[in-house]
């Protein structure tokens, strides 16, 4: 674990009971992530990408080993503490945007701030600023069903970014998007990564995403089989 390491996994196994036996979704994972990384987990379907993100995000506990996120031992956290960690420090982006359909874009983005009890006076400024980052300023009053898929996904990113999380975990964020929207989303995230020093960890098998990655971690059958810096150049682009 280095000085700037904000996530570290140490000999992590994740075992699911299957019938009478056990299924190792993750096997002896040793990984470190530093602040400001733009990393991706790649690998075939079923290789354990989502499982790994869930463990990092304190949604699931490792069966064995140690997972430390921002200095906290995830496997030791109680439900309330891990909820707290998610609320304050982590952001999740999913394949589907999961915006709440009854609320406007503005209100959807407001929800995490309400959960953090951010005072009303600060909320508005934070939301409008975030909408500007993702280029949705003119859509703030719209309901999700009036937006395109790409716009919804950008709103979902805004919902995560509005609370300035230290770590964003994105599980196949472009899987439902066309090429143009995928690039737009990735550029947005890259920009946020550089401007706010937010750490991004993706799970993907989308080539378009892989192009943007700085670090590419390959998973095969629950094991890390490759871990490489792919794009040092792009980091400074």
């Amino acid at each position: 674990m280095t000085e700037r390491s904000i996530i570290s996994l140490d000999q992590v196994d994740k075992v699911f009971p299957v019938g009478d036996g056990k299924f190792y979704a993750l096997k002896q994972i040793d990984l470190n992530f530093e602040e400001g990384e733009f990393a991706g987990l790649v690998g075939p379907s079923g290789s354990g990408k989502t499982t790994l993100l869930n463990v990092i995000g304190a949604l699931d506990k490792p069966s064995r080993g140690r997972v430390s996120v921002l200095g906290q031992d995830v496997s030791q956290l109680r439900a309330k503490e891990s909820a707290h960690l998610r609320s304050e420090k982590l952001g999740f982006i999913f394949q589907t945007h999961n915006l709440l359909p009854v609320y406007t874009v503005y209100e959807n983005i407001e929800l995490p701030l309400l959960l953090l009890r951010t005072p009303a006076s600060e909320r508005k400024k934070m939301i409008m600023e975030t909408l500007e980052w993702v280029g949705l300023t003119d859509k703030w009053k719209s309901k999700p069903n009036k937006l395109s898929g790409g716009q919804c996904q950008r709103a979902a990113i805004a919902r995560v970014m509005v609370k300035r999380p230290q770590i964003v975990l994105a599980d196949e964020p472009t899987a439902n998007l066309d090429a143009e929207n995928s690039h737009m989303i990735l550029k947005t995230m890259k920009k946020l990564n550089q401007e706010l020093k937010t750490t991004f960890i993706f799970s993907t098998h989308d080539e378009k995403v892989i192009q943007y990655l700085v670090r590419k971690i390959t998973l095969t059958d629950g094991k890390v089989t490759q871990d490489e810096i792919v794009n040092k150049l792009k980091e400074s682009r």
Binding site: L85, R86, T96, L100, V102, E107, P112, L115, D171
Partner: protein, 425 residues
């Protein structure tokens, strides 16, 4: 946050409007049903209390034992004394003497020879005291078919059937031939001033109504009466109060070893009253089933609503809300819908219930008679009582709440990560 959730609640029709309507309709039906059943039960009580059992009645212990035979010789004496005690001690009840008797009514012609005669069942009630409520209890004004109600001593009413069968005329004099309280023969002259319908075949064949003082005089009942009837001034049978009053009275005045001491009975001691206990339970059972069905419907809509929102639950967990918090906010939403729906449903249900209470539902055409009668009321009525106001909240609030509670348990049963799977679709 609460404001935020309310906004969502208001905007999502399937979350608010539909459950709200279901609750409102369900509660309204429950409320109406309860009022209607209470009305039906109340009706049966009042009809029977009116003529036979009273809400309360006082009679001599020995008369009470052979009540079905109307044993006049066992009548209660010192009536004025007892009436005074009753009226003073239990002012929430109207106390009146009544005498049931039998006899032969003989109608002489102008020469004093018998023109017609027939057996009659007689009822002596207080017709002439200005504060007597008996005319109202007996519904005499609308049961009157011909002539007028008695205004003076010596005037009687006969049933219309009897009147027609014997070809009588209004103003006709009649002689009652009967057995007095002392066992001797009693003969008394009356004047027929009007005819009435009882609505009961047996009685309509031959019955008379006379003023109770006249009857006392005719049957040699000096300060005696077969029964003293009590009716709650509230207009309906009050079970708890009736039992307390009768207990108090009996403890104070009824002596088990003195057959002529008075005893007070409640409506529940009568035949119908005893059957009522069963009937009451039966109706309560119907009501419980109804409430139960409503509860299941509302509970289901609570569950459906919960399931529909798994996606939302997932995303809120991801944002760092705790399961408890999500659970409580959902429960809160359900309770808001349940409470408002129940309040509105109760109000909605009370409107037809009130109409059915005040106006009633006329079944006379179904019964084939157009004149109202003393015993059978042709108007079915609902009765709004204290229970009417809260019964709807059982299915309304409880069921909605429990439904959501059950739906919510699914949140706990599932692993957090599994709830997230819902988000990967």
């Amino acid at each position: 946050m609460i404001y935020f959730l309310c906004k969502g609640l208001l905007r999502d029709r399937s979350r608010s409007l539909i459950p709200f309507l279901v609750v409102t309709v369900g509660v309204a039906l429950t409320v109406l049903m309860e009022a209607w059943i209470s009305g039906a039960v109340g009706d049966i009580i009042e009809t029977n209390a009116k003529f036979k059992d009273g809400h309360l009645k006082v009679l001599s212990r020995s008369y009470a034992e052979q009540q079905s035979q109307y044993p006049l010789d066992l009548s209660l004496t010192d009536t004025q004394h007892w009436l005074q005690i009753l009226r003073q001690k239990y002012p929430s009840v109207n106390w009146q003497m009544r005498i049931y008797f039998g006899g032969l009514l003989d109608f002489p012609d102008e020469n004093g020879e018998t023109m017609a005669q027939g057996p009659v069942a007689g009822t002596g009630i207080d017709l002439l005291s200005p504060d007597s409520k008996e005319k109202e209890y007996f519904n005499l004004n609308s049961a009157l078919v011909k002539g007028t109600l008695p205004q003076n001593p010596g005037e009687i009413l006969v049933t219309d059937q009897f009147f027609e069968r014997l070809h009588l005329s209004i103003g006709q004099s009649a002689t009652l031939i009967s057995v007095g309280m002392d066992g001797g023969m009693a003969v008394h002259a009356f004047k027929v001033v009007g005819t009435i319908n009882f609505g009961v075949t047996g009685l309509d064949r031959g019955a008379i109504i006379a003023d109770v003082s006249d009857v006392q005089e005719a049957l040699n009942m000096i300060d005696a009466t077969s029964e003293i009837f009590g009716y709650f001034k509230a207009g309906r049978f009050l079970k708890q109060q009736a039992m307390t009053i009768s207990q108090m009275f009996n403890q104070a005045y009824s002596k088990p070893n003195d057959p002529f001491s008075p005893v007070m009975q409640t409506f529940l001691d009568g035949d119908i009253g005893q059957a009522m206990g069963f009937m009451d339970r039966y109706l309560a059972f119907i009501l419980i089933i109804f409430v139960f069905i409503m509860a299941i419907v509302l509970w289901n809509s609570g569950i459906m609503n919960g399931i529909r929102r798994y996606g939302e639950i997932g995303i809120r967990l991801a944002m760092g809300e705790t399961k408890n918090h999500i659970y409580f906010t959902m429960l809160g939403e359900a309770l808001i819908v349940g409470i408002i729906g129940s309040i509105l449903g109760t109000m909605v249900g009370l409107i037809p219930a009130y109409y059915l209470q005040e106006v009633g539902f006329d079944i006379s055409s179904m019964m084939g008679s157009t004149t109202s009668s003393i015993l059978i009321s042709t108007i079915m009525r609902a009765q709004i009582n204290s229970m009417t106001f809260w019964i709807g909240f059982i299915p309304g609030v409880l069921a909605t709440g429990v439904g959501t509670l059950m739906a919510g348990i699914a949140i706990y049963q599932r692993q957090t990560a599994e709830l997230f799977k819902e988000l990967e679709i």
